[in-house]
């Protein structure tokens, strides 16, 4: 293994909800450690149910939130050291793509103004002509072109087209990392495939890595090199996508995989789907224990440590499903 490109070191984010005095603490991201290598561009998917902290994790990587504990290191530069932080450099290297493309663009602004702003403000292009060239080239890599986008407003594009334009906007700076938070959630099946195929193609073409946040496990399986499963803010499983999804080690990953509506494999009538509603859980226990079909006394008492079954995998479980 070579150098790490992005490293999360015990990252924690706590939200305080309600008043200062009687407010509750909500640990949205709980002591997450993860690393992406720099040898080759990779696609890392983060999966988990609604509210498990995926977007919060993204926002910390994008520097929109400061972690309450832990640190993030990008290309050797620590987020916690202000001297190492150059906002312009950061915006060149890390670019976001959001879920709803109609929210990424204001309805009253022409779409191409965003593209020109990115190209000119960050000093990627010296003048308008150079910017045009760069924008056109980038739009073509996502199957569009500057002439087809010029002078148009967001409502004149379909959801899929607009999402491709926002991917192009992110690519203009030739970033090293694109953080995509649910980029295909609002898009239908066929267009979804076009977008995730585009990720694969861009990964090779521009050597860009992706952090792909999604509910959609089948596209995560299809497109990613690595998968991280989050449960209530905790990283519970991490490893190569195929291994994890074909042969989950954590019962929660198994539960997620069993819930995917697969074609060709009908659901068994009454397979228990442990419910997802909030239940009180002891802070010191495994957070998944109340829903886990394999939970034992141990699980309800102590939080499991991260262990390494196999070479490349990590799992936080007292009774992993693989040894």
């Amino acid at each position: 293994m070579g150098q790490t490109f992005l490293e999360l070191k015990g990252v924690t984010k706590i939200f305080r909800i309600g008043g200062i005095l009687r407010g509750k603490k909500l640990v949205a991201v709980d002591n997450v450690s993860l690393a992406m290598d720099s040898d080759e561009p990779t696609i890392l998917s983060v999966v988990g149910e609604s509210g498990c902290g995926k977007s919060t994790l993204c926002r910390m990587i994008l520097r929109m939130y400061k972690p309450d504990e832990g640190d993030i290191v990008l290309d050797g530069h620590s987020y916690s050291n202000p001297k190492e932080y150059n906002p312009r450099q950061f915006r060149m290297e890390v670019q976001p793509i959001f879920q709803n493309p109609y929210e990424s663009f204001s309805a009253r602004k022409k779409v191409d103004t965003y593209l020109f702003n990115t190209a000119l403000r960050l000093g990627i292009a010296k003048d308008h002509r150079e910017a045009e060239q760069r924008i056109d080239e980038t739009l073509r890599s996502v199957g569009m072109s500057l002439p087809s986008v010029r002078d148009k407003y967001p409502t004149q594009f379909s959801g899929g087209e607009l999402q491709r334009i926002s991917i192009a906007r992110a690519l203009i700076t030739r970033p090293k990392l694109i953080v995509a938070d649910e980029p295909v959630a609002a898009i239908d099946a066929s267009m979804k495939m076009n977008i995730v195929n585009l990720f694969r193609q861009l990964k090779d073409q521009y050597h860009v890595s992706f952090l792909y946040i999604t509910h959609d496990l089948s596209t995560a399986y299809y497109v990613s090199d690595f998968i991280a499963t989050l449960y209530r803010g905790c990283l519970v499983e991490y490893g190569p996508a195929r291994e994890i999804m074909e042969d989950p080690a954590h019962p929660y990953t198994e539960l997620l995989m069993n819930a995917v509506p697969r074609v060709g494999d009908k659901w068994k009538e009454e397979m228990a789907m442990p419910d997802t509603e909030d239940k009180e859980y002891a802070l010191s226990a495994c957070k998944f224990a109340p829903r886990c079909p394999y939970a034992t006394e141990e699980c309800r008492e102590k939080q499991p440590e991260m262990t390494n079954p196999g070479k490349s995998r990590k799992v936080a479980c007292w009774h992993p499903l693989i040894s």
């Binding site: 149910e49 089948s218 299809y222 819930a259 509506p261 697969r262 659901w267 997802t276």
Partner: protein
Amino acid sequence: MLKIDHLSTSYRTIDGKVHVVNNLDFTIRDNEIFGIAGESGCGKSTLLKAIYDIVEFPLEIDSGRVILSGEKDGRPFSCESGEIRKTWWNHISYIPQAAQSVLNPITRLKAQFLDSVPEKIRERESDQHILRQVGQYLEELDLSPDLLNAFPFQLSGGMRQRVIIALATFLSPNVVLADEPTTALDVVVQRGILMMLMRLQKQLKNTIVLVSHDMGVHYQVTGRMAIMYSGSFVELGKTEDIFRSPIHPYTTMLIGALPRVGDRGQKIGIPGQPPALTDPPSGCRFAPRCPEATERCRCEVPAFREVKPGRFVACHM
């Protein structure tokens, strides 16, 4: 039974009429889960609105009608577009797309529910009595009757959707229309809700019309299904048969594009865009994207015909 009889609808816009449902003619039977799949914007929600009789400006019915018939409490009934409204909740109910956000977040669920109970029933029975019955029904579905006292914002999206389904089925309607009931939810919650719908259907032996653009959901839940493209059906049949041997090239490509766990082989989305409904191509609407299109496809609209018993396809090939 729901008979959709040569139904065409359109939206009135400043640029003229946009035809969104074109001459649909098919029947949804009693005691089945019928699925409708298709790309975003193909007209799935519009069709459900027309069936449910919410035909309000700018939507209008250009021709044809919907006939809802069946038997409830031993009494046969039949009504058609224009009258279906009067049977809301009793014979037919509707779970709109993004229903979870349709609920008023700051009004208690019980008040919102009572608002939707038909006048006739509220005149006959006290609110207390109705709420007690609803509470019992929620319990039968493994939901807490206390939910009725909750405000929607206090519930998760999945819980809100369960309550909405419970309320929509409380009066045991003959037909339940569900528009993308699980699209915004994560897989585990989605599975719970789909299982709840399937269980309810088995119990009530009624009809559920399920709209979803997730083909996996159709495979798991529906018995028969239709594939919609640009305002018309291109294929209809038993769900199993459609997945096993799709006939229309659009269906074939749609199924071929689905990623599957265990198979990382390259999958390709359908190239191109669906046609603008304001300016549809003359012949088959899928022809511009179809790898097998011929001259005939580009000029002549293919008829939606029965190619095998129970299997309908609109394709020249």
